[in-house]
Symmetry: C3
Subunit: 424 residues, 3 copies
């Protein structure tokens, strides 16, 4: 897809409406999305506690590209292209594991945990091993979250750090553990998954559990006085107790907080909002399902929400957090890993049980993946025409699409600009 064709395609979106059919079908566009957004942006890779000790590693694949994330001997988290510098063989094959050194299973080229080539016995004399270490990738850690960027010229990470670090501090992700992971293969283009995520217009119909706990389905225009009063009371109660400790209710009204904000370069956001009356946490009955996390002293902390484009979000209650990591498998399949986190000291079947911990979000997830699948089938039709987005309910879908188009426009073939950066 040359620049002219790309720009012509980008121009086919009608303001305030969804994307035309080609955006969900064109393979050349998908290849360009991979290059520009998925290889150009910061990807959430996992949690620091997943690679607790030197030699612990995790791997993930974006498009057809495998990334290796490892704790090195100095205790730092590093990321590399997970392929041997010799003949390209995939090095670490498991999703996660531990190694003393990285040894290629083909010809035993051996790399240190810092990625240096330390042994390639059998090669000819005169090879400069120092130039054959694993190809490093930009890596950042904030609040227990690991981010990796495949680009040699990554966007600035500091703005995300500045936003996430204080917001996440009381949650204590650094001292969490994974109670359960579920891999979902969603039969939909990755953009449909985000469009779904960026509005709660569908919650009333699709998410009978979710709407009991959250105020997202209400917006300023349509919420009743009763709802507004309940929300205001919850905000006031929490604020007065915890604001000094950084447990600040920053999203105080109904509807989703604004995100993303392409006009201000915001591809990440963190906010805290309150839960409905009777809900201490995002569980089926609102009752706590695990011990308190982080520095929380009681349940009355609302929900911390953080997200970053193109592949991460988390809802963190007082007692557990549920995160999602998105990775495109191809233009029509998106792999979503769901993480259920609890405090690292919590013991399964004593302090928490999976049958109480999982359902709220597992159901919500499956409801979303199902509707995304049917939307993909629909936008495949020649009869599909992008319709209007609700200005009161789908402002964030519009924002997402504007962000997406801006990313592609800025990054036309051959252009090395970095629009993922927050504008200072």
């Amino acid at each position: 897809m040359n620049k002219t064709d790309l720009e012509a395609l980008l121009d086919t979106r009608r303001e305030g409406h969804g994307l035309p059919r080609a955006f969900y079908q064109n393979e050349a566009l998908y290849a360009f999305e991979l290059e520009r957004i998925w290889h150009g942006g910061w990807l959430f890779a996992g949690f620091t506690f997943e690679v607790k000790n030197p030699g612990d590693y995790l791997t993930f694949s974006v498009g057809g590209t495998s990334v290796l994330v490892m704790r090195d001997d100095a205790g730092d988290v590093r990321a590399f292209h997970n392929v041997c510098r010799h003949r390209g063989t995939l090095l670490c094959r498991a999703d996660a594991g531990h190694v003393r050194a990285i040894v290629c299973p083909y010809h035993s080229w051996t790399y240190s945990r810092q990625g240096e080539l330390v042994n390639c016995h059998g090669m000819h004399e005169g090879l400069d091993k120092s130039k054959l270490g694993l190809r490093p990738l930009a890596t950042e850690v904030v609040a227990g979250l690991i981010y990796v960027c495949l680009s040699a010229d990554p966007p600035a990470f500091a703005p995300l750090r500045d936003e996430f670090a204080p917001a996440a501090r009381p949650q204590g992700f650094e001292h969490a553990k994974i109670a359960r992971m579920v891999e979902y293969d969603v039969e939909a283009n990755w953009k449909l998954v985000w469009e779904n995520n960026r509005e709660c217009f569908h919650c009333q119909r699709c998410h009978p559990q979710y709407v009991k706990a959250n105020f997202d389905i209400y917006d300023e225009g349509t919420a009743s006085e009763a709802v507004k009063q309940k929300m205001a009371a919850a905000v006031a109660r929490t604020q007065s107790k915890w604001a000094a400790q950084g447990i600040d209710i920053t999203h105080t009204h109904g509807g989703l907080a604004t995100f993303p904000d392409p006009d201000n370069g915001l591809w990440f956001a963190a906010d805290r909002t309150v839960l409905a009356e009777g809900f201490d946490t995002e569980s089926m009955d609102g009752q706590r399902v695990a011990p308190l996390m982080g520095s929380y002293q009681d349940a009355d902390v609302g929900v911390l929400r953080m997200r970053s484009l193109p592949n991460f979000w988390v809802h963190a209650s007082c007692d557990h957090a549920v995160a999602a990591r998105l990775l495109p498998v191809n233009s029509r399949v998106t792999r979503v890993r769901g993480y259920w986190l609890v405090n690292e000291t919590a013991r399964e079947d004593e302090d928490y049980t999976l049958d109480r911990l999982l359902p709220f979000w597992h159901l919500t997830n499956e409801q979303d993946w199902d509707i995304c699948k049917w939307q993909q089938k629909g936008v495949d039709s020649v009869g599909y025409e992008p319709g209007p987005l609700s200005r009161v309910k789908e402002y964030n879908v519009d924002a997402f699409l504007r962000w997406y188009l801006k990313e592609l426009r800025a990054g036309g073939p051959g252009v090395a600009s970095r629009p993922l950066t927050r504008v200072a």
Copy 2:
């Protein structure tokens, strides 16, 4: 595929021979066939009795495009693109069902059975709902058959109506029911399925059951005098009894009736022919397998055959009818729905049994799909060269290919002509 490349490809067919390999493999050509023939022509969708009451619906997919056929509140059959005007989600997911209104499973946009948008609660003020009804598709009904055209400029339907209505009247499709439906996924390009259908040269080898009941394998040149006399006697007998009632034997000699006829714009045809001695119907033993259909008064009515390009044929005996609806899944898979129809008052296991009703055509169908699959494997070879078509046995294959090439030629990119129309 631009017009020059298309025309160059179309010109590679050698007169009187099959199509070159590229016609069964080229994805750009397939996309153009979808646009020109499958989205441009009249598609058989189903039977009126499948959507008997207001709110009854059926759906089908052509290429990746889903169509919704529904009986509206006024009792008319309508068709729509089966996607929501909001975000494009597929609306009705079942092959068939009943609804009070069409409610999108995503955001509850609600459409009447006439396709009007009646509710989109949650959208902003000022939206013109009258412009957001379901996108209607041209729909026609004749003799109990529903036809839909995806084009905004459909070919004339009256010629088909003029041909089918009188021919089908005594069969009474309007008062039939489906005794059984079978979906076949044929591993062959849709054109191979039609090429197979348009000749009985293969019947002797492939269809041991079929040839016992029918005169199709004979042609004027090779039929013996004994065969000709038997056929003539059957024609005379039936004609003398029923012609006044419209049960007219119009195809009176061996071999297949000529169809299609691209020189005269005929993409549909109906005729009636006789069955072999001892065959009252197309069953394994020739014995009737269900009560008489329509206005027939005894079994001696031969077989009514109707077909229309690109996706329908039916063989209707005195007591039952077997129809086929073709839909391309992709360039290499054709979905064929087989329908076994009986009179709507016939009771299973009392008036008919499936083990007697199904085998004749289920076997014939499976024999055909199998040979189509092996032909597809063969034409995939670089060693395949289109061979000569028999002028005595395969004149209709030639006619089909000439029709096909004419459709594509007339409908070159950007050309809005309508060659599917019968020439007056």
Copy 3:
């Protein structure tokens, strides 16, 4: 892919390094490889004893093209395109079988075992049957091996014959039989399978069984004096006994014999080398697993190895031989048939058992296909960069890649040169 694009791609390989990523992913390049290398070169099809009697046949598919190999009535082996000259239907569907004549399952066009069209009853008068015989393919037989070329202008076969005939004579492939065949679908591009085959650098890590029997892992530079002495002793012992009978140890040092040799047009090679002390044959424990083959008089004959590009190799010990036939299914899957041969008079469970015959090479094969699969996954990564090939261990990988590039360069679109020919 036009010539300019092709040449630009071919020029991206850096000397002494592997191939860039596009070589394993580009579908247009794969189509060109099929045309140039797979349809242009000599393909090993099978063994003469597989089609022992007139009417015996075998089939195989290369890309999507099916080839029929048959023993004709005069006792000669012939090959044809396995598609009917009428409508292109695949003729013989089994991998192997026996027919009195080749009868198309569609319309009964009938061909003699010589490929002549002898019956096409139902066609019109005046058809020239002599022009509608099966399309013959160039066929050669040497030392019990059948080779077929799909090109109308095949490369010279005599050089291969001159090399293989004397080398294979004592092995007696003509009087062998298949004890077992195994079909492997390797999830890797065919070139990765050859790259794997052309070096034993990986043997130490991947093939614990293989390295016990063979000297391949040693090279002149790194072999210890003890190893060199053992090898020299084995060479001297065998030579003194058998050289006069053509059992000549031509590969007398460690490491793989040089092959291919693109500078000298060598796309085939045969040599004999010795086995390690204690190994009479390539079995798990080195003990013989079947009666002696051919004219061998005792076990001390080393191993005869022959190979030809693009699809054959064999390791033949005194008592059995293990061959491989490669065929590309698509750009990412290579079908390898493994053959275990023994003398035709050997009786299973009396003279040999499969549990002793198979493991050595079945394990080695599976180890190779597994590593090829992981290499394919790795070279799919945008992080893959071709690394340096070991000049001491991977000279044959380099030679294979140079052969490959030369084939494609010489055979640019429209060019009918024949680089597969050995330079005289």
